[in-house]
C-alpha cells in the first residue's frame, strides 16, 4: 500500500497558506516524521518535523541531506535494515522496530513506518518515515520477557529441587530396614518399599494399585490389621507399636510391630495411610530364648545350692557341744560363702531381668516396721561385732514386692557393715515424708568421694580405692537403684570421705497410678 499524490488531500496543494497549514499539522504530530528523496543520491532526508527533532535530539539542519542510517549508530547489521532495504527496493510500505541512537548517544527503540510515494510514472520518488519512540513499551516487553525467563528458571530450579528431594526421600525409604507401605483411603497400595517387598517375598507389580486385603491371595486380610485400619486409626492417629501376629502361607508365622499414620494435612495426600512394619519375629524368639535360658540357669544354679546350704546348716545344728571350736567356725564360714554365692546368682539374674525390662513387681502390702526389724535382726546375728540401731516407724503398709525390697535392705545393710570395719555403729531410720516412706541407713566408715558418688549406682562400677580390699562385682547398688525406681521411689547417697555414708530411699505409700488396676 502507498500514499498517493498530495492532490488526493482535501486541501489544494499549491496554495502557500495551505502548505503552511499542512506543515503546522505535521509539526503538531507526536510521531516523528521525515521525508526522503529517492530520486537523489543516497536517498537523503529532505524534511523532518518537530517531533523528529525531539525524538532524535538532532536539529533540522543537522538532519537534512543525510541518509536515515546515521540514526543506527554502529549497529548497522540489524535484521530490520534488511527488511527495510527489501521494502524500499520493491516500493512497498513496512513497519519495523529499530534500535536507534539519539544525538547524545542514548539508545531508543524506534518503531518506523516507511511508506513510498509514487511519481506519475509509478516510480518511487519519496519515502515517508513515521517514527515513534517505543522504548518504554520495548523495555516493558523486555522486562516482562526477562521476568518470564527468570520465573521459568526458578520453576526449573524448583522442579529440579523437588525431584532431587523426592529421589532423596525415596532413597531413604528404600534404605531403611523396615517395611513401609502407603495406602490410599480405600486401602489400595500406592507404594511399597524394597524392604517390604523383600521381607514378604512379593513383587511390585502384584502389589501396587491393589487393595491391601487382596494382596497375595488375601494373605494380608488379617483381623488385627482390619481392626487397626478401620477401627483404631480413624479416631487414634497415629498408632504406634501395634502388634500383629500372623501365619503367612509361604513365609510362615510373622510377629510384626506396626506404626500407622493417617495423613491429616489438607491437600492431595490427605487420608493416605502410612504403615511401617517391623518384623520382630526373630527378636521376640531370641528374647524368649534368653528368658528361657535365664530361667533354666537360675533353677539349675540354685538347686545344688539348696542341698549344700541345707546340709551346711544342719551340720551346724547337729554339732555336739564339746567339739573342737574350729569346726563350727569353719562351717559358719562356709555358710557365709554359700550366702554370698546365692546373692551373686540372684543379682546376676535380677540384672538380666532389669536389662530386658522384666523386673516384675509382685505388689504385696508390706509392713516396713516388721521387714526392717527382721532384716536387722538377721544382720545382727551374722555380725555380732557391729551395733545395729533402728529408729522411727511408719503407720502405713506400702505396696511393694517384698523379696525385692528385702534384697535392697539386705544389700544396703551388708554394704554399711562391709565398708565400716573400724566403726561399730550402723543406724537405720524409718520416717514418713509427704506421701512416701523414707529409709536411711547410716554407717560411720570410709565414706565415698563426691566423684564416686555420681557413679556408684552405675553397673559394674566399684570405688577404686577400696576395690582391692573388698571383693564384689559392682552390681548391688545398680540393682537396688533399679528396684526402687521401678517401685516409684528414689535411692541416693549422702557422704563425706572418712565420715561414713547415708544411703536413703523413698517408696510411695500409695501404688503407682500406671498399674493395671
Amino acid at each position: 500500500m502507498s500514499i498517493n499524490h498530495a492532490s488526493d488531500l482535501p486541501i489544494s496543494g499549491n496554495d502557500p497558506a495551505n502548505i503552511k497549514l499542512l506543515k503546522s499539522a505535521l509539526d503538531s504530530s507526536i510521531s516523528g516524521i521525515i521525508i526522503t528523496d529517492n530520486t537523489q543520491f543516497d536517498n537523503p532526508i529532505i524534511y523532518c518535523n518537530k517531533a523528529f527533532e525531539v525524538l532524535s535530539g538532532y536539529l533540522r539542519e543537522e538532519v537534512i541531506g543525510r541518509n536515515c542510517r546515521f540514526l543506527q549508530g554502529n549497529e548497522r547489521n540489524q535484521q530490520a535494515r534488511e527488511d527495510i532495504r527489501k521494502a524500499v527496493t520493491e516500493g512497498e510500505s513496512i513497519t519495523v522496530e529499530l534500535r536507534n541512537y539519539r544525538k547524545g548517544g542514548e539508545l531508543f527503540w524506534n518503531e518506523l513506518y516507511i511508506s513510498p510515494i509514487l511519481g506519475e510514472a509509478g516510480q518511487v520518488t519519496h519515502f515517508i518515515g513515521v517514527q515513534n519512540d517505543i522504548t518504554r513499551r520495548k523495555n516493558a516487553e523486555e522486562n516482562l520477557q526477562h521476568e518470564r525467563e527468570q520465573v521459568e528458571l526458578k520453576i526449573e530450579k524448583r522442579t529440579r529441587e523437588l525431584n532431587e528431594n523426592r529421589e532423596y526421600l525415596d532413597s531413604i525409604i528404600q534404605t531403611i530396614r523396615q517395611g513401609l507401605i502407603v495406602l490410599d483411603p480405600e486401602y489400595k497400595v500406592i507404594s511399597a518399599n524394597d524392604f517390604f517387598l523383600k521381607t514378604f517375598k512379593v513383587e511390585n507389580r502384584d502389589t501396587i494399585g491393589r487393595s491391601l486385603y487382596d494382596l497375595g491371595n488375601g494373605q494380608w486380610d488379617i483381623k488385627q490389621l482390619r481392626v487397626l485400619l478401620e477401627q483404631i486409626l480413624p479416631t487414634n492417629n497415629p498408632v504406634l507399636d501395634f502388634e500383629v501376629d500372623h501365619e503367612f502361607p509361604h513365609i510362615g508365622r510373622k510377629l510384626m510391630l506396626l506404626n500407622a499414620h493417617r495423613i491429616e494435612i489438607e491437600g492431595s495426600f490427605k487420608d493416605r495411610i502410612l504403615i511401617a512394619i517391623e518384623d520382630i519375629t526373630q527378636i521376640r524368639a531370641s528374647e524368649n530364648r534368653k528368658d528361657d535360658f535365664l530361667s533354666v540357669s537360675s533353677h539349675e544354679l540354685k538347686t545344688p545350692l539348696t542341698t549344700i546350704k541345707g546340709y551346711n546348716q544342719t551340720i551346724l545344728r547337729l554339732l555336739p557341744a564339746d567339739i573342737n571350736p574350729k569346726i563350727p567356725m569353719m562351717v559358719n564360714k562356709s555358710g557365709k560363702q554359700i550366702d554370698r554365692l546365692q546373692n551373686i546368682i540372684t543379682s546376676l539374674l535380677e540384672m538380666s531381668r532389669i536389662q530386658s525390662g522384666k523386673l516384675v513387681l509382685d505388689a504385696d502390702s508390706i509392713d516396713m516396721n516388721i521387714l526392717i526389724k527382721e532384716m536387722l535382726e538377721e544382720a545382727q546375728e551374722g555380725n555380732p561385732e557391729h551395733i545395729l540401731i533402728f529408729e522411727g516407724q511408719t503407720n502405713h503398709t506400702i505396696p511393694a514386692d517384698e523379696s525385692q525390697i528385702s534384697q535392697v535392705l539386705q544389700n544396703l545393710i551388708t554394704n554399711a557393715i562391709k565398708y565400716s570395719p573400724d566403726s561399730r555403729k550402723i543406724k537405720l531410720m524409718l520416717t514418713e515424708v509427704s506421701n512416701y516412706i523414707k529409709v536411711s541407713i547410716t554407717d560411720y566408715g570410709f565414706g565415698i568421694s563426691q566423684e564416686d558418688q555420681k557413679m556408684i549406682f552405675d553397673r559394674f562400677f566399684r570405688v577404686s580405692t577400696i576395690q582391692k580390699h573388698f571383693p564384689g562385682m559392682g552390681i548391688g547398688l545398680y540393682i537396688c537403684a533399679q528396684i526402687i525406681k521401678q517401685h516409684g521411689g528414689t535411692l541416693w547417697v549422702d557422704s563425706e570421705p572418712g565420715k561414713g555414708a547415708t544411703f536413703s530411699f523413698t517408696l510411695p505409700i500409695k501404688a503407682k497410678e500406671s498399674g493395671d488396676e
Binding site: 535365664l294 545350692l305 544342719t314 531381668r353
Partner: protein, 119 residues
C-alpha cells in the same frame, strides 16, 4: 499324734537332705521323687502337709496341686511349694498353694514355715 509330712522333689539329694533335717525335728517323713506317683501316695498316706517342688518331669508341682484341689478326699491338705524357679511364687500361688519357699532356703525358716501348718 504324729506329724506326718510328705516331701516330693525329683532331686533325690534335696529329698534326702530334707528327710534328715525334718526327721531330726521329729516329723514322720514320707518321700517321693517320681511326681507321677505322688497323687496316689498322698491319697494313701493322707499327710498333714505336702512339701513339693515345682519343676518336675512328666507332671509339674502346680499340676499335681490343681489335681489335688479337684479331689475331695485330699483337697484340704495344705501344700507348700518350694522352687528355684524365677516365677515360682507366682505359679505356686496361682495353682492354690498354701505357702511358698524359694530355694535355696534357710533351714530355720523352713522349719518355722512347716510348723505353721503342723502344730
Amino acid at each position: 499324734m504324729s506329724k506326718k509330712l510328705l516331701i516330693c522333689d525329683d532331686d533325690r539329694d534335696i529329698v534326702e537332705m530334707l528327710e534328715i533335717v525334718l526327721d531330726e525335728s521329729g516329723f514322720e517323713i514320707i518321700t517321693e521323687t517320681d511326681s507321677k506317683r505322688v497323687l496316689e501316695l498322698i491319697s494313701n498316706t493322707r499327710p498333714q502337709l505336702v512339701l513339693m517342688d515345682l519343676w518336675m518331669p512328666v507332671i509339674s508341682g502346680d499340676q499335681i496341686l490343681k489335681r489335688m484341689r479337684e479331689d475331695k478326699n485330699i483337697s484340704s491338705i495344705p501344700v507348700v511349694i518350694m522352687s528355684a524357679a524365677q516365677d515360682g511364687k507366682e505359679v505356686a500361688l496361682k495353682a492354690g498353694a498354701n505357702g511358698y519357699i524359694p530355694k535355696p532356703f534357710d533351714i530355720d525358716k523352713l522349719l518355722k514355715r512347716v510348723n505353721e501348718f503342723i502344730s
